[in-house]
Symmetry: C3
Subunit: 108 residues, 3 copies
């Protein structure tokens, strides 16, 4: 039995939660913050059998890994001038995952 | 030394917290959410000596286990008609508990 | 690889977070509550290599240990009477730290 503690960006937390629940995982979500900018993020507690740990990590990776996304930026423009947003590469996502051994598990 | 992580329903969290504190346990409470309906619940961190783990689990079970309770429901009624609530069985409570081994414990 | 779970007073949490971040530690912060008075406190999750655990504990101790501080109290006074606050010794701070072994660590 393992306890997975996964810290993901808030933007990814819904996708991760939905995918894990559909994957049959029992998850508990906590609002947390961290990192240099003390940005809000999300920490999941996922209790699962040893052989299902890899599956959970794959789901987390698929939905929360660090990746480059195109995002529109608003270029500086004079008043009233029509502007077309330029798409720029932005680094998003990223997950940190700890897997801990569970001595004893009880459901009551 | 063990760290007990117990996830209980919000309705049971006060009873669990009071009983554990009276039982001499040091507890930390976190507001969390989980399950299919992403309902709010409560996660307790309980650090305790190995031989006191069973005692804590019993307290949690006594105060938070899954159980059937009678709850009044409001039957559909026409306007102004006097209604008598009917008592129905409702499944409440339920706790999920992980017991982890603590490598090192410090109080400063 | 270890996961340090440190519970500190809210008054100390900023100092601890800043010092740990400057020390190069990756930390996640959770708002929690605990103790007899169910006072709000702060729980940090700190993932770190085995040989950096002592360093983290020293930082936590330096910034959050139980200590006596002089705090001004407002003596009872009649209306309009000029009062000079008296400095009294107050017990502040205090940290509880659990160090758990991490089976597996992934950053994605
Ligand atoms: Ni196991
Ligand atoms: Ni022990
Ligand atoms: Ni290790």
């Amino acid at each position: 039995m393992k306890l997975i503690i996964a810290i993901v960006n808030n933007d990814d937390s819904n996708a991760v939660q939905t995918a894990l629940t559909e994957g049959g995982y029992f998850i508990t979500k906590m609002a947390t913050s961290g990192g240099f900018l003390r940005k809000g993020n999300t920490t999941f507690l996922i209790g699962t059998n040893d052989e299902k740990v890899d599956g959970a990590l794959e789901i987390i990776k698929a939905n929360a890994k660090k990746r480059v996304e195109k995002e529109p930026t608003v270029p500086p423009t004079e008043m009233g001038e029509f502007f077309t947003p330029i798409m720029v590469d932005v680094l998003v996502g990223g997950a940190t995952v700890f897997v801990l051994n569970v001595d004893r598990f009880e459901k009551m």
